[in-house]
Amino acid sequence: MAVEKTSTWRTIALYVGLTLAAVVVLFPFFWMVVTAFKQPGTAFSPEIFPSAPTLDNFKRVLGDFGFGRYFVNSVIVATTAAAFATLFASLAGYVFAKKQFFMRDRLFGFLLLSLMIPGMMYVVPQFAIITKLGWMNTYKAMIIPHLANVFGLFLMRQYMMTIPSELIEAAEIDGASERQVFTTVMVPLSIPIIATLFLLTFQFHWNNFLWQLIVTNVERLYTVPVGLAMFKSAHEELYTLKMAGSCISILPIAVLFFFAQRYFIEGMTMGAVKE
């Protein structure tokens, strides 16, 4: 409904509506931050802004409860996984977009079919494989099983198909090897989608709580969400600390979203719009 003549009253009503909606949608995060700054033991005080705000909760969570360590683990796992998942998806996306090869279309259909499989289905057998490989309680167990990102491959292929093949042919005539074509033609021209996929896979791994819970049972390898879940069951009542841990857990993604929201929104909705 494109608005032709927007009356003042209508504008006011819309702003009120938008603001109300924002308050409702963001309230949990607001409450989380507020509670994290409350004095320990006063998590349930109804004051909207703490009268005596404190950083104690953050200090204790990061120091005494090991969230500093968990944070480092999360950064290691999410960064490594995002880098390799993006690399593998761009290598594969390139050949699906630009090469003719044996079984190409069938293989692509088969890959897409796997998107249908419910995630819960993988939990037990993947755990079994990790156990058999002797990878329990290692970074590689947290990272490697999720490096084949089919949705990411799909995004890459769609994007790379729009790059003119003439550019590749020109580079080949100039004597570029296959690897050079990829690194000097495809990668520079695909930076927006590479950035998008890196952010999306980083976000996925940062939030991938269930898998990391399953393959780690030593505290030194916990990621932030796993640490938070363990903390939740061990100290049910320490809500100010739990909220401080929660803040730490979502901060990196919130910051990334703040600076790169266009990539997040486009990347996440691209597959759906293509339907």
Binding site: V3, A92, M121, K242, A272
Partner: protein, 323 residues
């Protein structure tokens, strides 16, 4: 990169050494594909097969060698599932979850999209605000909501009391069988609405303004314009929302883990069953808490079957709709 004509040279050159080029292309293609394909085969294809193998085995409870002591039991796990009240209850709860989250998610997404579909200065800021929760961690969101939903002193209980409703004070929103599932769904809808909002917004903005102008000339009210023009034209998005809502219900786990652990219990014919005991959570519970790997695998196969059915129904409807 210099431009070598229109690509005709390349095509002709290709034909002259086509055989070797063909073989070489295949080799290059599969070299580039190798890292992705190896991971895909080992960690995404093989597990589906191995899961079926596990579903036909039982892990003895006292086995120290996790997967060495597997005992073949054939279809026993599946047979047991069919007589497991807890399992059928979980399927019912999954359907209940879907029945709540699909309409609520669609309504919330549509409302946000309609609000944003106006030429206002701050629209971009609101759009970001609505989308932000979608990228954040469900576990954290769930934990924060357990605080908000807390009994006696939780903020929501206090707000309800201030308007004279004290029904939730004693046990909190997540502690009562009647309100537990709607509360889990509510938290999830607020987190996810930004995604549907973007889809609806782009669909609405693709509708030609002339349709609304013509309707306005014919004297249609804005409600009529919404129900007769907007709704029918965003139907593909609505359909998509139904599908992803169903898939989300079949996969629901983290929100339940974070907020209710499947509870609170309801007495159904003398049996204690969890009011938020969805199938995804049962799979986790059978695996992680009870160490019944075969049983959990069998259950995940039923989840797969349900997902395939949903997708087939979807394809049938979508096909009928678009062609």
């Amino acid at each position: 990169m210099t431009n070598h004509g229109t690509g005709g040279d390349g095509a002709r050159a290709g034909r002259t050494w086509s055989l070797t080029k063909h073989a070489r292309d295949n080799l290059t293609a599969y070299t580039f594909l190798a890292p992705f394909l190896i991971i895909f085969l080992v960690f995404l294809v093989y597990p589906v097969v191995y899961s079926l193998y596990l579903a036909m085995h039982q892990v003895p409870a006292d086995s120290f060698d996790v997967f060495g002591g597997l005992r073949f039991v054939g279809f026993a796990n599946f047979m047991k599932l069919f007589t497991d009240v807890k399992f059928w209850w979980s399927v019912a709860m999954t359907l209940y979850y879907a029945a709540l989250i699909i309409p609520a998610g669609i309504a919330a997404s549509l409302i946000l999209a309609l609000l944003l579909n106006n030429r206002l200065k701050a629209v971009a800021i609101y759009r970001s605000a609505f989308f932000l929760p979608y990228v954040l961690d469900m576990l954290v969101v769930g934990i924060v909501w357990t605080l908000i939903y807390s009994p006696h002193v939780g903020i929501l209980v206090r707000i309800f009391e201030s308007v004279g409703i004290s029904a939730f004070t004693e046990k909190g929103f997540l502690g009562m069988p009647g309100s537990a599932m709607p509360s889990v769904v509510f938290a999830n809808v607020l987190k996810g609405a930004g995604f549907g909002m973007i889809l609806y917004l782009s669909a609405i903005q693709n509708i030609s303004p002339s349709l609304y102008e013509a309707a306005a000339i014919d004297g249609a009210t804005s409600w009529q314009r919404f129900t007769r023009i907007t709704l029918p034209l965003v139907k593909p998005i609505t359909f998509f929302m139904v599908i992803i809502g169903t898939i989300a219900a079949l996969n629901a786990f983290v929100e339940v883990y974070a907020m209710t652990s499947g509870g609170p219990n309801v007495d159904v014919g003398g049996r204690a069953l969890g009011a938020t005991w969805v199938t995804g959570y049962y799979v986790f519970d059978a695996f992680y808490n009870q160490w019944r790997l075969g049983y959990a695998s069998a259950m995940s196969y039923i989840l797969l079957a349900l997902t395939v059915i949903v997708s087939l129904v979807n394809r049938k409807f979508l096909g009928a709709d678009n062609t």
